[in-house]
Symmetry: C2
Subunit: 364 residues, 2 copies
């Protein structure tokens, strides 16, 4: 496997990569292995290591690695590229352990969901001459394990890259090539602190909300009955609670402050929605609720369209305070329908029957 | 199309259904139409009506109906079965309007997401001799419109049926046949109040959480930047905010009390998780957080496995207070790993460097 300008012993020329090590053979590590093996490069050896021996065996059987080894040095020694695909806190141990085993000029990258702590550990433990490029593939957060691994897991998804300041430009290029050519993902460069503060909002908060919906419902005495009504909506809403709990734990611990901040924001927002629902007993109240529902529908549609199109350009419409072109569109599309609805609703609702029916709604 | 024992003018024998009306041609109505047309019954006419003329035109072009008509009587007159697939509050108007147009023995069903109000309206407006069977297909809550309609939308999904007390047994059988044979879904009988209280927890609360994640993030001044990191996790978490806002509004208004109840439960649960994250700065705190994450992972896995297998049997494990077999399994599988993790984590964490790094975590 030839990667452009990998910093080898012989300088920054193109080198032929003949050994890549993958540490951690779960969904992400296994999928990277499958994508590497899919290239059918006879000169490239993909060596895997997992702390659990049977996961290594499974990964080898699935063809995600040429060989799974039971000693970390055997995986790492002589590898030009080392990919650490463990839960976040384990990355620290791996970096400490492999620091002295790496060959000069080796490139190390990881796939952890938080990045500030990882970048600091790499700086602390890795010797000079080793290039570290932090990574976070923005995909596959809702399933676990080598069994679900797929070479197509990363196709068209974004892949955050955060080069350490001391990383060789050519090492960065090597990881970019791996991400874009082998994994068919889209490299996206950013700062570690920036990554963690944004990921808290758009990945870790959704994870917390998934914990919330599962926690609130599954602890109810009626869970047995209500779980039979749970379907695609519940499945989507709870999906991040299906990710590896050990990995979720590490993410909470390494991005604690930002996650607590967003949990508080979400509690405020949910209380606001609850009050809107609670106050929707007259026309003005229903209009306020309907407007809020239309606004979030629109924000989600604008984002989702861009996401599906892979559009992460700088002209994504800014939010909020100023009405965006999208907001005017929503007003145009939904405003009239909503207004008509409120009026009709409360004209019809002012009957004794409605009040009687309201009383019949059973409390959950 | 022959349905078992449809109550026709000639009594409760089998009748040949030659006209079915679908009122409301969005995702659900359109998908029912496509499934009916897929049967290629030359004697069956599927007539559609939508308040928006261009939606009717689109449905006819897509082949979801034989003909879209612009006047409600034209759709309903002579139909043996009338399917109302509009947002919930519009069902009331439709029932009022069609009551006197229905032929004797006609069967009326709906697809609304709340059922107590709908059942009461049917009782109030429909004349004797008309059978009403309330329905709610538990699928397709996260997309909108005839464009996304598919005859396979209901395959293997559950489909709640709530017969009015006065409905003929043979009318119930006809709807069961439609649901199981034509839509290939699984009929699931229950009480309307029961449905609404459970749906509040497992469908309407997830919808509210989707509003929450979209509301909290999209109103942030950093939304433009953070939205580029939003990926599959955000997509799943926010998906129910992508449903028709008019329909979401109707659901909130017709199931207000139960939704407010579950919003409060969710706020409590989220505050509990926030406190667990916030308190995960020592071994005991991390263990408490890890245990909570493992518990919800397990509850979600147990539910999801059953859901994917279509298992809604009575022996679904009860929750909680008593440890279930599943909980013991989780302890066995994850408990030891977690304990090892906490110990290692806090042995390594007690360094000055860690404190320095903690301070570097930017607030979101």
């Amino acid at each position: 496997m030839i990667l452009c300008g990998l910093p080898g012993a012989q300088g920054h020329a193109e080198v032929d990569v003949d050994k890549i090590a993958i540490i951690g053979l779960g969904l992400i590590g296994g999928s990277i292995g499958l994508a590497l093996k899919e290239q059918k490069d006879p000169k490239l050896q993909v060596i895997g290591f997992d702390a659990e021996v049977d996961i290594g065996t499974k990964a080898q059987k699935r063809g995600a690695v040429d060989k799974a080894v039971w000693r970390l040095p055997e995986a790492v020694e002589g590898a030009q590229i080392v990919i650490i695909a463990t839960p976040v806190l384990a990355i620290r141990e791996v970096l400490q352990t492999i620091a002295e085993m790496l060959q000069p000029g080796a490139v190390v990258t990881d796939t952890g969901g938080t990045k500030s702590a990882v970048m600091a550990w790499a700086k602390e433990y890795l010797p000079q001459g080793i290039s570290f490029i932090g990574g976070n593939p923005l995909t596959g957060k809702d399933v676990v394990g080598i069994e679900k691994a797929s070479p197509a897991l990363f196709h068209n998804s974004r892949y955050v890259l955060i080069p350490d300041k001391a990383a060789h430009g050519s090492a960065v290029q090597a990881v970019v090539d791996l991400v874009s050519t082998t994994l068919k993902a889209k490299p996206y460069f950013m700062d570690a602190d920036e990554h963690d503060s944004y990921a808290a909002a758009v990945t870790h908060l959704p994870m917390l909300l998934a914990q919330t919906v599962v926690g609130a419902t599954s602890k109810s005495p009626s869970w047995k009955e209500m779980s039979r009504l749970a379907a695609s909506g519940f499945e989507a809403s709870s999906s991040l609670a299906g990710a590896d709990p050990l990995n979720n734990l590490d993410i909470c611990i390494t991005n604690r402050e930002a996650i607590v901040h967003w949990a508080n924001e979400a509690i405020r927002e949910m209380a606001r929605f609850r009050d809107l629902v609670s106050g929707s007993t007259n026309e003005a109240g229903a209009e306020a609720l309907g407007t809020a529902l239309a606004r979030s529908w629109e924000a989600r549609e604008v984002w989702h369209t861009k996401y599906l199109e892979g559009d992460i350009s700088d002209d994504a419409p800014a939010r909020p305070s100023m009405p965006s072109p999208g907001e005017q569109l929503a007003d145009f599309m939904i405003g009239a329908k909503l207004r008509e609805r409120y009026q009709q609703m409360f004209k019809l609702n002012e009957t004794k029957e409605q009040e009687r029916r309201q009383r019949r709604f059973r409390r959950a």
